[in-house]
């Protein structure tokens, strides 16, 4: 039953989303009137590189091949998928001839490390704080925490990260202005290097963490406030169960469930936010790679990052969705 009623439709959806997402990525550059090949050449010219008339045809042919623009649209589409299945995203144009896949592989550990720690921490801390604030909603500390969240929550990632950068790297010079580690440092497994990385990651991590916590704090607080009124909580209270037990065992556990679904639904936003934060702090992850590719007009690289992100995000969402029955005993699909 579980497989037929839940797993198979969910897997079909997963494949469809990836298929459609990548198809859109394929179509976007092709539906526009301007030709990316000519565009690249224009940009090269604008940058001041002089092109000899003879080499022009060669460059056009190379670019057409590189962007996968040869043949009919259908042939292009087929070739596009074939290359993707081989894990070939093409080569980066401005870091020629480094393959896009390799550039992504270098940047990925930075982004993955940053995202994994901040998202998990934000979810756990935000939910626990929100649960207690919701349970003791009338206490002073709960109200003041709520007031702070009301101001931080609406800020977009860029503005919040930039404000933190101004405050803690320029006004009070506690943290470095940019980068992932000291300039010229080779990655090694030594304590000083790890300390250096942590010190550089602190502000970007903090800004993603605080914004994430604000969201979970607020939703959890509301859910708990409504769960507290339920009769089973009243019953436990009257039965003399310790209050800390009620909050952690009964209230949080029940209120956690919608938060898991919430996490799955908001991963896309969190990921985009992390990319933007990386750009603010010039943190050497996918965000900065994206920024460089925008500045240099490296279209292959942008396509590669987008396709990679679509696959990664939908896969993680799928995993969270499939794990959901483990947390909720009511949904066992038996």
């Amino acid at each position: 039953m579980f497989i037929r009623r839940y797993l198979i439709p969910r897997l079909i959806q997963y494949v469809l989303v990836i298929f459609l997402g990548i198809t859109v990525v394929f179509i976007i550059p092709r539906m526009l009137p301007n030709d990316p090949v000519m565009r690249t050449i224009q940009e090269l010219r604008a940058r001041g590189s002089s092109l000899e008339p003879g080499s022009m045809d060669k460059i056009i042919a190379d670019l057409t091949e590189m962007y996968g623009l040869g043949g009919s649209p259908l042939e292009q589409y087929g070739a596009f998928w074939q290359r993707l299945f081989r894990g070939d995203f093409g080569v980066s144009f401005f870091q020629f001839p480094t393959p896009v896949g390799k550039l992504i592989a270098i940047a990925l550990p930075w982004t993955a490390g940053l995202l994994l720690t901040t998202t998990t921490l934000a979810w756990v801390i935000g939910n626990i704080a929100g649960a207690f604030a919701g349970y003791y909603a009338n206490k002073g500390w709960s109200r003041s925490l709520d007031a702070v969240v009301m101001v931080i929550r609406p800020l977009p990632y860029y503005i919040f990260a930039f404000t933190l950068l101004l405050l803690f790297a320029y006004f009070i010079r506690w943290f470095p202005v940019s980068g992932g580690s000291g300039i010229g440092r080779q990655p090694t497994f030594t304590l000083p290097y790890i300390q250096d990385v942590l010190w550089h990651s602190f502000l970007p991590a903090l800004s993603i963490l605080i914004l994430g916590m604000a969201v979970w704090f607020q939703t959890m607080k509301l859910v708990v406030q409504s769960v507290v009124g339920e009769s089973y909580v009243q019953y436990a209270k009257l039965g003399g169960v310790k209050e800390s037990t009620i909050v952690t065992r009964y209230v949080i556990r029940n209120a956690m469930l919608p938060q898991i679904t919430g996490l799955a639904l908001s991963l896309g936003l969190i990921f985009s936010g992390a990319l933007i934060t990386e750009i603010v702090f010039s943190y050497p992850g996918l965000g900065s790679l994206l920024f460089n590719s925008i500045i240099t007009g490296d279209y292959n690289l942008i396509m590669g990052i987008t396709i990679f992100s679509i696959v990664a995000l939908t896969t993680i969402t799928l995993i969270i969705d499939l794990l959901y029955p483990l947390f909720d005993p009511r949904i066992r699909y038996t």
Binding site: P29, L32, N34, Y157, I159, L166, S266, L275, I294, M303
Partner: protein, 284 residues
């Protein structure tokens, strides 16, 4: 009007409302600006705030105070275009999916779920890069509108789902009221506050993305918006050179706008349903 008076009693809504009124008034000042915002070098460069230049001047030779009035105006116009157009999509999708149910519901919700899972920011960046040459306030608003409806369509759908189960729906259907009339006359009054609160959230999201895209250099940088002001400030190293009056103007203005819009929408949602505020996940 009574609804509005009730809302103003909530301090959050009241604060949000008055701050937004101030912002709109500030934006309207741009019609009386003594300088043309598209020209450079109309005033001496890099002056500190003074009696003559209230917020100082920037390295392009523009008066920051008057530039900011244009910036707020343009950012609000972009947000309004994005918000209103995406409301049309969100309301249509939400109502059709919620009311018809069945296959159309499944297809529409599949589309909106997919849009939530996919990193939309990257899609918007890809599109923005390609239409960079023809990017103006209207196209940017429309671009954001195409991507900003998914979450709100879900909220509207779930409200329609619960309205559909109410008694009055059966009464209306059995007494021969057509679907269009039922949805427009009977459901709309219930949905209006929700649509309005999603509109406000969506506007905040649009301003946030406008700023991000501008800082990445993906919109027309000669049009003053909150984002392009910040772009030029960063581009001229205003932070390193400690020209705080220049960097902080767009930042503080946008923070005020974000907080005010958020408080407005929280005020409306709390009024709608004090137990369960319905909100967007974040401003992106």
């Amino acid at each position: 009007m009574k609804l509005f008076k009730d809302l103003l009693r909530d301090y959050k809504f009241a604060w949000g409302f008055w701050i937004m009124c101030m912002m709109v008034a500030f934006a309207c000042l741009s019609f009386f600006a003594p300088y043309d915002p598209t020209l450079w070098g109309v005033v001496p460069r890099d002056m500190r705030p003074s009696a003559e230049y209230w917020l100082g001047t920037d390295s392009n030779g523009q008066d920051i105070f008057w530039m900011a009035t244009f910036a707020v105006r343009n950012s609000l116009v972009i947000a309004l275009i994005a918000g209103l157009v995406s409301r049309v999509i969100a309301v249509t999708v939400g109502m059709v999916a919620g009311y018809l149910g069945g296959k159309s519901d499944r297809v529409l919700m599949f589309v909106s779920d997919s849009m939530l899972v996919i990193p939309l920011f990257l899609m918007i960046v890809m599109l923005a890069m390609l239409v960079r040459d023809s990017m103006n306030i209207v196209t940017l608003g429309l671009l954001l509108a195409i991507f900003g409806w998914a979450w709100d369509a879900r909220l509207i759908r779930s409200q329609i789902l619960s309205l559909r189960e109410r008694e009055f729906t059966k009464t209306a259907v059995l007494s021969g009221v057509g679907t269009m009339r039922l949805v427009l006359n009977e459901y709309m009054p219930y949905s209006t506050p929700l649509i309005f609160s999603t509109l406000i959230n969506n506007m905040a999201w649009a301003i946030g993305l406008e700023i991000t895209l501008a800082v990445l250099g993906l919109i027309d940088l000669s049009v003053p918006t909150l984002g392009t002001m910040l772009y030029w400030a960063i581009n001229y190293q205003a932070v390193l050179l400690q020209r705080w009056w220049w960097v902080l103007t767009p930042i503080i203005l946008s923070i005020l706008i974000f907080v005010a819009l958020y408080w407005l929408s929280v005020g409306i949602s709390e009024y709608l349903d004090p137990r369960r505020r319905i909100q967007r996940v974040g401003a992106g």
